[in-house]
Amino acid sequence: MKITQDIKDSTIIMTLDGELDASSSVILDEELSDPEIMKYSKILVDCRNLNYISSAGLGVFISHLQRFEDAQIKLIFFNMQDKVRNVFEILGLDLLMTIVTNYEEAITIADE
């Protein structure tokens, strides 16, 4: 798993590249736990190259969701592959998290 961050004003665009399993999701947890991230109001997660997610990866997002919500930080996923989105849907997480089609849509929702 490779994670890159691109910062634009109050927005972090986090690009996930690779697979999030019980081994690699630790890296994502470290990134999302960084106190620096709380300075931003929008976290846009580019999932184009996220090829796989297991419960460990989902668990990392689940565990940070409330903290971001309480801090009024918007967490938005975009460019998600169908097979990965399906895993979110199996647990109903697509109803609790914001998953949109592409970057333009992510920006529009983030600015609402």
Binding site: S23, Y52, S54, S55, V60, S63, Q66, I90
Partner: protein
């Protein structure tokens, strides 16, 4: 075609297991979504066995065998670690997990929702998990 693999209990080997299952399933020409679901279910069980049942001890092993009953695919995963207490299993309350910021505990729910049959058994210190999925 090789249908079984022996893997030592480290999390790094989960990728190896997923690649093995993917390679095996290629011949069945499943959809991307279904293929991913099946690989995920096997990965979740193996992750639990490696982390919880065998405490990530690389001197311990898990064994995976894939078979093809009629119109289905079946996985048997065995180990000699601490047996999974399936009677203690409770469906997770995802909203509660979000509220308290809980990281784990949704893997078996995924497996149960994906597979048509999930069975755990133990005998003489050896445990087996059987996963069955209809594919036609």
């Amino acid at each position: 075609m090789n249908n079984s693999i022996k893997v030592s209990c480290t999390k790094k080997n989960l990728k190896l297991i997923r690649d093995f299952v993917t390679d095996y399933l290629e011949q069945l020409a499943l959809s991307d979504v279904l293929m991913n679901q099946i690989v995920l279910a096997v990965d979740e069980i193996c992750a639990n066995l490696i982390i919880h049942a065998n405490n990530e001890d690389p001197s311990k092993y898990i064994y995976l065998t894939i078979t093809e009953p009629k119109n289905a695919v079946q996985f048997e995963i065995t180990d000699n670690g601490v047996a999974f207490q399936s009677t203690n299993y409770k469906e997770p309350d995802i909203l509660e997990h979000v509220r308290i910021g809980k990281k784990g505990g949704v893997g078996i729910a995924l497996v149960k929702r994906i597979m048509d049959k999930v069975e755990f058994s133990s005998k003489d210190g050896s445990n087996a998990c059987l996963l069955y999925k209809k594919i036609k």
